[in-house]
């Protein structure tokens, strides 16, 4: 009834991070613009001042998009956990729309809180960065106004997307039937199957269309640089198709990964848990898939670009002198910026996993009653978290590699005057970081749920409510 605050903490955290990121980035680019304008050498050029906000906004939009996907999945998980309560309220006479509206309103309030805190934190962080940069002589002291209206824009965007994502994520509320408050066995919902068919068709259309455009972009890219724009559109469409079809794509990957964990009862049940509910599995992994895909796409494209520059440096060392250093700095900055979106996705996965374990207390009690040791239960939770992380990372790596190569080919295929095949660069450092991050994520994601699972008493499995 009254907003269950604990459920909303994950959404708050995501809104806070996205808000902080957006505000910080705009402050920093704003500061840089002031510094560049004040500099006697670069001050005359408008190009940099114009480009900075554009680049900043590209990364802000990516971060907000990822947080919207994460939030809608978190909300869907919250709704799944509240099904019985919602059914009870429906039974007593609340309408489905009122219940959904309540969740969307919670999203709006949480979005507000997150964005407001984001403005504060982002501004503080920017201020700190400025002090450090000035003190260490990286940047001259600048007269930058922290109170400017432009930083409100990312905050407003965060509020609106959190609200929208809560609305989208809460559509399951409409399918909760009052009888679920009492009935033990619930018929399978035919409406849901129909809805899924529509979604699957949309996903296939998007993937086919997107792949065709991606191919067209590569071909056009052989002769004209505009090919990359066609390819970009194709990439967005086909990737949206993959996201829509996540409940079909993810279970086979999860099953495959599950086999790697051996045949112990804990590992087998963990693997089954990960695939038993395709909707839940895709909810938990898709945010991370998006994050890893973004990072990989970006790194593969950059690595291919770097390889090409290297070739150019070897051919004409005097023309490209000094390019190497700048290239590395640029790549590093972009990697940090895009990595932030992956961080939001990772936090989303940690939260959804915790929530979904909290919601399965009864089931864990049953396993205890059947003779699982607390230690085995912990092993099961860790294996489940690992299966989800590994599956999401693998899927993201494969997708990112394809998109990254397509992007590099479309961008660089015709750059030297004649059509060439661009060898995809393999960003080993990034792959290494991702593997370490995946291990870390698994560990973090399973701490709280595993502790909780070990405390579950076998008696709860036998309780009626």
């Amino acid at each position: 009834m009254r907003a269950r605050l604990k459920d909303q903490i994950p959404t708050l955290l995501v809104a806070l991070l996205a808000g902080t990121f957006g505000v910080l980035l705009l402050h920093v680019t704003g500061m840089l613009a002031v510094a560049i304008a004040a500099d006697s050498v670069t001050g005359d050029s408008d190009t940099v001042a114009l480009m900075l906000p554009v680049v900043a906004w590209v990364f802000i939009v990516i971060a907000i998009y990822v947080s919207a996907v994460v939030t809608s999945n978190t909300v869907a998980t919250v709704v799944a956990g509240r099904t019985r309560l919602i059914a009870l309220l429906r039974l007593i006479g609340s309408s489905a729309r009122a219940e959904r509206g309540r969740i969307a309103r919670e999203g709006l309030a949480v979005g507000f809180a997150g964005a407001a805190a984001g403005i504060l934190l982002g501004t503080l962080a920017a201020f700190g960065l400025e002090r450090v940069a000035v003190a260490s002589g990286v940047m001259p002291a600048v007269d930058y106004q922290y109170l400017n209206a432009s930083v409100l824009l990312p905050a407003i965007a965060v509020v609106l997307t959190t609200w929208l994502a809560s609305w989208v994520g809460s559509r399951r509320v409409l399918r909760v039937r009052p009888i679920e408050a009492i009935g033990q066995a619930v018929e399978s919902d035919r409406e849901e199957l129909v809805r899924r068919r529509g979604r699957n068709i949309a996903a296939v259309v998007l993937i086919v269309l997107g792949t065709a455009l991606l191919a067209a972009g590569i071909v056009v890219g052989l002769v004209r640089p505009e090919g990359v724009l066609i390819g970009l559109l194709g990439g967005i469409l086909s990737f949206s198709g993959v996201v829509l079809a996540a409940h079909v794509v993810m279970p086979p990957v999860l099953r495959l990964v599950g086999r790697l964990f051996g045949r112990s009862p804990a590992a087998r049940i963990a693997a089954e848990n990960a695939v038993r509910n395709p909707e839940r599995a895709s909810r938990m992994t898709i945010g991370l898939v998006i994050g890893v895909t973004l990072v990989t796409t970006f790194s593969v494209t950059m690595e291919s670009y770097r390889a090409m520059i290297h070739a150019a440096i070897e051919a004409q060392p005097e023309v490209f002198a000094g390019v190497e250093g700048m290239l590395n700095v640029t790549i590093a900055i972009f990697a940090v910026l895009i990595g932030f979106s992956a961080l939001i996705a990772a936090i989303g996965m940690v939260n959804t996993l915790s929530l979904s374990v909290l919601q399965r207390t009864r089931e864990l009690g049953l396993l205890r009653a059947l003779g699982f040791e607390a230690r085995q239960l912990r092993g099961m939770i860790v294996a489940e978290a690992a299966a989800l992380t590994v599956a999401a990372t693998l899927t993201g790596l494969v997708l990112g590699f394809v998109y990254g190569w397509a992007g590099a080919q479309a961008l660089l295929g015709g750059a030297q005057g004649q059509p060439v095949f661009v060898f995809p660069g393999i960003p080993w450092a990034m792959i290494g970081i991702l593997i370490v991050a995946a291990g870390l994520l698994t560990a973090i994601a399973s701490i709280a749920p595993a502790r909780r699972a070990m405390r579950v008493s076998p008696v709860v499995a036998l309780a009626t409510d």
């Binding site: 009834m1 009254r2 269950r4 309560l85 009870l88 309220l89 429906r90 039974l91 007593i92 006479g93 609340s94 309408s95 489905a96 009122a98 039937r177 009052p178 009888i179 408050a181 009492i182 009935g183 018929e187 009626t464 409510d465």
Partner: protein, 253 residues
């Protein structure tokens, strides 16, 4: 002009009701051509062994489930063809529920739970309704517990809150699904006494689903269901009479 259920003194009525699950050879018949009317102001028990279709019957009469065939009236409203939004309003204003597992909202205190149907309706209870609710608190012995959350109450107290919530809107009909199933026998008897009292004292119509002969013995009328059909329609009975009829049904099957 069709005769309305209310012309017959009925608060709810079902006609040639059928409910089937699945299709083909795997089809299961939960209700088979059931016709009955519940009289206004009466406390009716619906008895039957597990799987007799009594819960399905209650769910359909309350508009929670849809029948495969037949019609259902609550008051003079034919509810089988009503859209979900109309059913929602109907549940909110004209039906009350009491369950085996109490089903209170855990985050609300006693007062919040009892006033919930009004809140969902977007209105405050009128003066008359407030006095009625105060009387319910008094009769049900909840006066000193109004600020307590469900987890701070015993099972019997929680069920009293559920009864207060069900009666607060003075609904046409209160459905009670095994209301004593989770209570010890003494507390169970108290709850049954309260339900019977609501019916006798305030004219509240109540339909109670149960398989407990002692619970059914508090009712004015007992309908026996077996294999989806009404097999007997009896008046007030002793627990012994009810139990022996139930046993004879079991052995005949």
């Amino acid at each position: 002009m069709q005769i309305q259920p209310s012309d017959l003194g009925l608060i709810a009525r079902v006609a040639t009701l059928g409910k089937r699950y699945g299709s083909g050879s795997g089809q299961v018949t939960a209700l088979d051509d059931v016709s009955l009317g519940l009289r206004r102001g009466e406390f009716t028990a619906i008895m039957g062994p597990s799987g007799s279709g009594k819960s399905t019957l209650m769910h359909i009469m309350a508009g929670l489930d849809t029948p495969s065939s037949g019609q259902v009236w609550l008051g003079d409203t034919e509810i089988t063809s009503l859209p979900d939004s109309a059913l929602t309003v109907l549940r909110r204003r004209r039906v009350g529920f009491i369950f085996q597992s109490f089903n209170l909202v855990p985050t609300l205190d006693v007062r919040g739970n009892v006033l919930l149907p009004f809140e969902l309706d977007g209105r405050k209870p009128s003066l008359d309704e407030r006095m009625w609710i105060e009387e319910l608190y008094e009769v049900l012995g909840l006066k000193s517990r109004l600020g307590h959350r469900p987890h701070e109450l015993s099972g019997g107290q929680q069920q009293r809150v559920a009864i207060a919530r069900a009666l607060a809107t003075r609904p046409d009909l209160v459905f009670a699904d095994e209301p004593t199933g989770n209570l010890d026998s003494r507390t169970g008897r108290e709850v049954l006494g309260l339900l019977a009292g609501a019916s006798a004292g305030y004219g509240q119509s109540i339909a109670m689903v149960t398989h407990d002969p002692i619970a059914a013995s508090h009712a004015d009328r007992i309908l026996y269901l077996a294999d989806g059909r009404i097999v007997r329609d009896a008046g007030r009975s002793t627990p012994e009479e009810i139990a022996s009829f139930m046993l004879s049904m079991e052995t005949a099957a």
